[in-house]
Symmetry: C2
Subunit: 300 residues, 2 copies
Amino acid sequence: MALSCPGSPLHTLRSGLAGRPVGLVGLGLIGGSIGLDLKDRGVPTVALAHRARTAERARQRGLADVVSTDPAVLGEAGLVVLCLPLDRLLVPTPQLLSALPRQALISDVGSVKGPVLAAWQAAWSGRFIGGHPMAGTTAAGVDAGRAGLFQGRPWALTMTETAASADLQLLEALISVLGARVIHCTAQDHDHAVALVSHLPVLVSAALLHAMAREQNQSIRHLAESLASSGFADTTRVGGGNPRLGTLMASHNRQALGQALGHYRESLDTLEGLVREERWDQLCAALQQTQALRQQIVGP
Amino acid sequence: MALSCPGSPLHTLRSGLAGRPVGLVGLGLIGGSIGLDLKDRGVPTVALAHRARTAERARQRGLADVVSTDPAVLGEAGLVVLCLPLDRLLVPTPQLLSALPRQALISDVGSVKGPVLAAWQAAWSGRFIGGHPMAGTTAAGVDAGRAGLFQGRPWALTMTETAASADLQLLEALISVLGARVIHCTAQDHDHAVALVSHLPVLVSAALLHAMAREQNQSIRHLAESLASSGFADTTRVGGGNPRLGTLMASHNRQALGQALGHYRESLDTLEGLVREERWDQLCAALQQTQALRQQIVGP
């Protein structure tokens, strides 16, 4: 068992769990990565898998101490993290609800928070605090999880008036143990913010791929495909991601995404106008702004 | 001296040079990287640097066998590659023109080809074949060059009716020795194609940064900045790049960029319409298309 000094996140997590394991529902990229990191820190874990084959592979990979397709595996958990696709979080099934132990604090990792919170407030009478780790999502499935995925990454926790401070501390400790940075916000603010930094980029990036496909001159289109290099690969990465996830995010965050698209259209109109009117000094000034903005947000 | 088997690109390059060195004008990212790779392959190089300080640092880094600020350094070169910023390629100065040896084949690495070709056809009576390596451009300056930069990357060569086949072979051999893939095209087709894969992405990506800055609610804007993760970083990379380079590319490829922006606007309109009208099946189908398109163009 790893050392945990009093006051450290690991110590707080262990104290809060009082000997109970962390439960994981789903062992894809997020669930598997949480499992690997907790194992490394000596925090006991139990995991519920949907399919026998997934459970078998998860055992081979050591994603949790105990992996089962039997909901009873979660029975002793003190904290359960629902690491499921967004659509399964939005419609909690009776099977899932009856598998969750009453004493446990429940959290999730869904990329839209308002609708998930509403669904769980309606369906679940126990303690629930929504979360969202901002970690890469291109890999999927039981082989996707990897140690250190959350290191240095933001992890949003959505604040509600009813959340107990001891529950918040427990989740904060878990997130810190995983190496992520806790960001507190309301579900509504979260959904507006991710519309800008996560959902809008998917459409902006997808439109770039479609724009190339719209080129009528086949030889130019083929030439463009041959010349595409790292810049094009980076700009189109999220637009070439999981179509189902992209659609779920758009459909469950439609209003905020619509506002973000409005901001985007104004910005593109401005830049296009500068090109059309050959106002090169102003275009250069605009690109200096974006260079500074990106350095401020993302770093060099 | 490295081995060069008959028929290999290195052998073709050496035969074509007939003992003369390759000349480099400019030792930034591209020039420095070419120099390091040619040194590694045992191909002699001479380089003209603009400033004494640059020349000194280039000598320390071993970017060419001989580095000087004296134009006479190029006197013996059989092939000279102009590795200069686009604006300096577009307006060849009398000093540069008089530094180039009459016997040498001249090439360049400018990211727009039509205007460069026109400028050199007007100013230079010797042999000139335009080129464009599609390699990363975030680093700049005499410390930016690195070995292997062109490995596996496309390198466009613009075809003209007057180019001699021996000259094309010499340049193709150089590009192959550097590990890049030769792509033949006309200057006009090149400029249309890079508008789609290189110049349009800069504006699309810059507009995403501006869209975030347009968010009026400060707390949401700050939250968005905190939650920005790898997807946002990738999508905004080229929009946060060198403002001067972005402006030069736009201003010297304005017409093709305007067409590409037209394609982009139609694509974004379509996606936005699907979101507004909540046609989720069609959005998912559109994102399946972009996922397949990207895999076809960029790979998995």
